[in-house]
């Protein structure tokens, strides 16, 4: 009985303090837009029942900006259910990321996006939509980006949101600033080189377009005097001109042949571009350091030999 009384006394004394937050007090942040001009401009999208609302705040530091938002709402900001953090090009990515890494009440499976425009909140639940798009496309999330961010010998690549609010490119970084934006074709090659499935490759065969979808892929890097990239992929045929007879075995072999050539060509151009912009988003420096234990020659100093083996193993429901 004494214990019971003690328990109830503590209940009434302690309830309402320390970490006790009723659900109604929480503002569940779905996405955060962070911009920096002369101070931090932060927009937070807070989820409500059917819709979402945005709140703006500004401050000298990031935390100041968030506190500035709280002044205008009855709720506390809660970051454990974040879907996306959207940054403009003029913020320091490392500072922002470490701010969120330091906070124990932040999840790490959300997505990080670089945006071209700050006018993005036109529809409800934009953060959720964005995260669904990125999840479908197998893009790297916050956790993956933190890994590359703190790796000295690799540059990071962050999905890029354009003015039409579409993820049409990836921003490849060179140390601290964006080196260049990957086009859609380059994203497909980038996925091949980073062992990710889901990319579509278009080639021309006898003057007609042939498109395949990659189902399985193994990419290996062999580092010697020159770097040899061996790509082996299994793909299914998704679109082909009907003048081409795919029931012919030779044709398939020839299509594979032309695909190989196409991928080699595109990869070579892609790597040239990386060399030119000095953006090592593939992490080749990391591999070199792992192999030779020094970085006397970085990835720009090597020649690349690319070898591709394509196997078409599905044609879908049509025989031809």
């Amino acid at each position: 009985m004494k214990k019971l009384i003690l328990l109830f006394i503590t209940l009434f004394l302690v309830t309402g303090c320390y970490n006790y937050h009723d659900l109604n007090e929480l503002g569940i942040a779905s996405s955060i837009l962070i911009d920096y001009t002369d101070q931090f401009e932060v927009t937070v999208e807070i989820l409500e029942d059917e819709k979402s609302e945005t709140y703006k705040g500004s401050g000298k530091t990031l935390d100041n900006a968030f506190n500035n938002i709280i002044l205008g709402t009855e709720r506390d900001l809660y970051y454990n259910h974040l879907d996306a953090i959207i940054l403009t090009e003029n913020v320091n990515v490392k500072d922002i990321i470490s701010y969120f890494m330091r906070n124990p009440e932040v999840n790490n499976t959300f997505y990080l996006v670089i945006t071209e425009t700050t006018d993005i909140y036109k529809e409800d639940k934009f953060g959720k939509t964005l995260s669904n798009i990125l999840k479908r496309d197998n893009m790297s999330n916050f956790f993956d980006i933190t890994q590359t961010l703190f790796e000295e010998n690799q540059d990071m690549a962050i999905p890029y949101l354009n003015r039409q609010l579409k993820i049409e490119s990836i921003a490849a970084y060179d140390e601290q600033s964006i080196a260049f934006n990957l086009s859609l074709e380059e994203i497909d090659i980038y996925k091949l080189l980073t062992n990710n499935t889901g990319s579509n490759i278009v080639t021309s065969y006898e003057g007609e377009n042939v498109e395949i979808k990659v189902n399985e892929i193994t990419t290996k890097y062999k580092l010697n005097d020159e770097i040899k990239i061996a790509i082996e992929l299994e793909a299914s045929l998704v679109e082909i001109d009907q003048t081409i007879d795919t029931s012919n075995l030779d044709t398939i072999a020839k299509i594979e042949e032309s695909l190989n050539k196409e991928i080699v060509k595109q990869t070579a151009t892609f790597i040239d571009k990386l060399k030119y912009t000095k953006s090592d988003i593939l992490g080749i420096d990391k591999m070199l350091y792992n192999k030779f234990h020094n970085l006397l020659k970085t990835f720009e100093d090597y020649n690349y030999e690319i070898e591709v083996k394509t196997h078409i193993n599905k044609k879908g429901l049509l025989l031809k």
Binding site: T10, L11, G16, N80, H81, E105
Partner: protein, 459 residues
């Protein structure tokens, strides 16, 4: 002998005492307890047909004749419905008990779909018969004692002598002999004399009204206590696992019943933890709830004026009130209460914005889970722990659940009844008893803690 005078002196103001002198002998009986027909058949007819009675015992056709050695015995027999026959040089008692009992009924508190449908009654003889019909062995012993200065209630300790542990039997016997009390009405009262009153809320002994459960417990090496005038039997020792799992599980297929057994074990923890867990994850660790669900919860709680803990306490207490009124009220009014409770407290409370719909679901799950158990005492014990968990969690969140869980385990591990650990097949771990209770598997061994007789089916 002066037995007759003593009886006349001591039973002066007792209206149902009959003393009937016939042919030099005296019949003494209490007419409310004795059956007139039996007296007629067993004694009077035989006595009347003989001219001179030399050896009374040979004359009487009664199947149950007992010698009386002293006056104390005489009083005992007289008060239990025997007819005392006094001759010049001896006194005997003849069983002529009237059948003051109801017939064998179906079990009301532990019903099953399959399995035997008979249950204990208030009559000790019938109860013992029901058990002996199931165990036909001379190893089944029953030691009889009478407890209560006024009630002189018959209490019988049943065990199988080559299965049950001797020490346990001795302990129980010793406890029985030391009971000093005016009277005892139900076997539930006996419980407090057998075990010291502790702070632990869980029931020390299992009470059952099913003879098949009794038979099974006896075969496992447990001791069963029967009491005249009580339709329940006590099983010593009982473990927590026994309360969760009914014996009727043995009558169905292993693989199906194991699913139910896991479900029951889950329900045990659900009914303790659910409200606390809900409060912990909605007020402290919201990250654990999936986003879509969290927003749903948030929308439902919109406008509820109380904090989640208070809301939970209110709903729990209302449900306890409902349950108590439902058990106390005559069954014909019961449905009215159910309707009132369901409509007013369920629907109207939500629409009035006093509690959130999700809280009603949480409490409903809690209560339905606890109603899986038939023993009322275990439901009460679960309720006790439910409040404890809730209070700790409202201060410490999920961390509180972790600590309360350890406290619960420590508390349960510390609880021992007749030196047998209450949390038994789990800790200390014993696979052979787990196969009997928490899972159902083929098992040829008896549990070590209950019996030295290792294997089942061996002499």
């Amino acid at each position: 002998m002066n037995f007759l005078e003593l009886v006349q002196e001591e039973y002066k103001e007792i209206s149902d005492l009959v003393i009937k002198p016939i042919k030099g002998i005296h019949l003494i009986y209490l007419e409310t307890l004795a059956d007139q027909d039996k007296i007629n058949d067993y004694i009077l007819k035989a006595v009347a047909s003989k001219r001179i009675i030399t050896d009374i015992k040979k004359v009487l056709p009664s199947p149950n004749v007992k010698d009386i050695k002293n006056y104390k015995e005489l009083k005992l027999y007289l008060e239990t419905g025997f007819t005392i026959v006094l001759t010049d040089n001896e006194a005997i008692a003849i069983e002529t008990k009237a059948n003051i009992t109801r017939s064998i009924d179906t079990p009301s508190t532990e019903p099953t779909i399959f399995g035997p449908k008979d249950s204990l009654t208030e009559n000790y003889q019938i109860n013992l018969g029901l058990i002996k019909r199931r165990i036909k062995s001379n190893h089944l012993k029953n030691e009889v004692t009478y407890i209560g200065r006024f009630t002189k209630t018959l209490i019988s300790t049943l065990y199988i002598d080559n299965v049950a542990e001797k020490e346990l039997v001795d302990q129980v016997r010793e406890k029985m002999q030391n009971i000093v009390i005016d009277g005892i009405n139900d076997i539930g009262e006996l419980k407090q004399f057998l075990v010291k009153e502790t702070k632990n809320v869980f029931p020390a002994f299992k009470m059952t009204e099913r003879p098949d459960i009794i038979a099974k417990s006896l075969l496992e090496g447990k001791i069963v206590i029967l009491m005249d005038t009580s339709p329940y039997a006590l099983i010593i020792p009982s473990f927590l696992a026994d309360f969760i799992n009914p014996v009727s599980d043995d009558y169905t297929k292993n693989i199906n019943v194991n699913f139910l057994k896991i479900l029951r074990f889950l329900c045990f923890f659900l009914s303790i933890i659910t409200p606390a867990f809900y409060v912990a994850i909605t007020t402290f660790n919201q990250e654990t709830i999936p986003t879509s669900l969290l927003i749903n919860f948030q929308a439902q709680r919109e406008g509820v004026p109380f904090p989640a803990v208070i809301e939970c306490l209110i709903t729990l207490i209302i449900c306890e009130i409902l349950r108590e009124s439902d058990t106390r009220f005559p069954s014909s009014y019961g449905s009215a209460i159910s309707i009132l409770g369901a409509l007013v407290l369920g629907d109207a409370a939500v629409s009035a914005g006093i509690v959130s719909p999700i809280m009603i679901i949480v409490i409903a799950i809690t209560f339905i889970s606890s109603l899986i158990f038939t023993d009322l005492e275990i439901i009460n014990a679960i309720r006790h722990w439910r409040f404890f968990f809730l209070v700790v969690c409202s201060i410490y969140g999920l961390y509180g659940i972790g600590l309360s869980l350890i406290f619960f385990i420590a508390n349960m591990s510390n609880y021992e009844v007749f030196n047998k650990p209450y949390f038994y097949p789990i800790s200390p771990f014993d696979p052979s008893y787990i196969k009997e209770t928490l899972f159902k598997m083929r098992n040829t061994r008896r549990s070590k803690i209950l019996s030295h007789n290792k294997y089942k089916g061996e002499a």
